[in-house]
């Protein structure tokens, strides 16, 4: 058995650390998803059309990566407040699986399509899948809180 008692976690023992962790989680999520969405908007041909998709990708990738690192770190901190409840929750499991797939997708298919400056139906489909995954992850995060 794990010798870990969540009751000793600071997140469960003061008024401010849990909401603070959530603020970091949401703000860094805006950086990561927001920057990926900029690339998606370009792949869809709906925005940032003066730039190439590859140019937007290269200009945003550091912020995407930074955002992902903070969003995952703060997510792990939040998870530590009550690991078993998260682990046995279906919405949370869906979120983690989709998050894993979305990260792999982002750094493989999504990245190569953007670097090739692809356009048309293929590029649009790549962007739609990307947006759908990130939005599903957000929904799953919220639905966890309501179950």
């Amino acid at each position: 058995m794990l010798a870990y008692d969540p009751a000793t976690n600071p997140l469960n023992n003061n008024e401010w650390s849990f909401p603070l962790a959530e603020c970091f989680h949401i703000a860094s999520f805006a950086f990561s998803v927001g920057t990926i969405a900029l690339v998606d908007l370009r792949l869809l041909g709906l925005g940032m059309r003066h730039q190439k998709a590859s140019q937007i990708l290269k200009n945003t990738m550091l912020w995407t990566l930074g955002g992902l690192i903070v969003v995952i770190t703060s997510g792990l901190i939040i998870f530590s407040s009550d690991p078993l409840r998260y682990f046995y929750n279906d919405a949370f499991r869906f979120k983690i699986i989709t998050l894993f797939l979305a990260i792999v997708y982002n750094y493989t298919i999504h990245r190569s399509v953007a670097l090739k400056d692809a356009s048309g139906a293929g590029a649009a489909a790549t962007a739609v899948v990307s947006l759908a995954m990130w939005v599903s992850i957000t929904f799953a995060g919220l639905f966890y809180a309501f179950t």
Binding site: P6, A37, G47, R85
Partner: protein
């Protein structure tokens, strides 16, 4: 109850807000949409500010950032605010005297003031900003204020849920509630 309390209660008692509050599905779906638009459109606001500060998107002109994202930011703002009105309206009697809610509304009003104040000098003046050898101080000020306002709004939004209700909102350790773990 104060007159404000009566008004807040009357608003949240309308059929529309009652339906949202009492629906098991509508409330989380609206909140998820609120959060998703923070991700997609809030990110655009943050990146525009970082571009003006010279910290991101340096290959893209400020003009291109501001102009090309403007319709999307408007759309995002409309989605975020309409979802927010539904969330806030459904529980207004509980929120109206919540200091974090009041601060959030104040900051949202200041976002409007900010947009008006820097409209001529920054947001409708981007070609001059791009021509300038160095980013003018007024633009940097606008970007920093925008970052502060939006991160403040985000934080207040989260803290609304914790005002005087921190005990019941804090997760209960699973070890205390799940007796049989395989």
């Amino acid at each position: 109850m104060s007159i404000f309390g009566d008004i807040a209660q009357a608003i949240q008692d309308t059929a529309f807000f009652t339906a949202i509050r009492e629906s098991g599905l509508a409330y989380p779906v609206i909140m998820s949409t609120h959060l998703s638009s923070i991700g997609v459109f809030g990110g655009m606001i943050l990146m525009t500010d970082l571009r003006i500060l010279g910290l991101a998107m340096k290959d893209v002109t400020v003009t291109d950032m501001v102009r090309q994202l403007r319709p999307w930011k408007y759309l995002g703002f409309i989605v975020m605010v309409s979802m927010g009105i539904m969330l806030g309206g459904a529980k207004l009697a509980q929120y109206y005297d919540n200091p974090y809610f009041q601060l959030k509304m104040t900051l949202l009003f200041l976002v409007f003031v900010h947009a008006m104040a820097f409209r001529r000098s920054v947001y409708r003046n981007t070609e001059a900003l791009d021509r300038a050898p160095e980013m003018p101080r007024v633009a940097k000020t606008a970007a920093i204020l925008s970052l502060c306002l939006w991160l403040g709004i985000l934080s207040c939004g989260r803290w609304i849920a914790y005002f005087e209700r921190s005990e019941e909102h804090r997760p209960v350790p699973a070890s205390a509630t799940v007796p049989n773990i395989p």
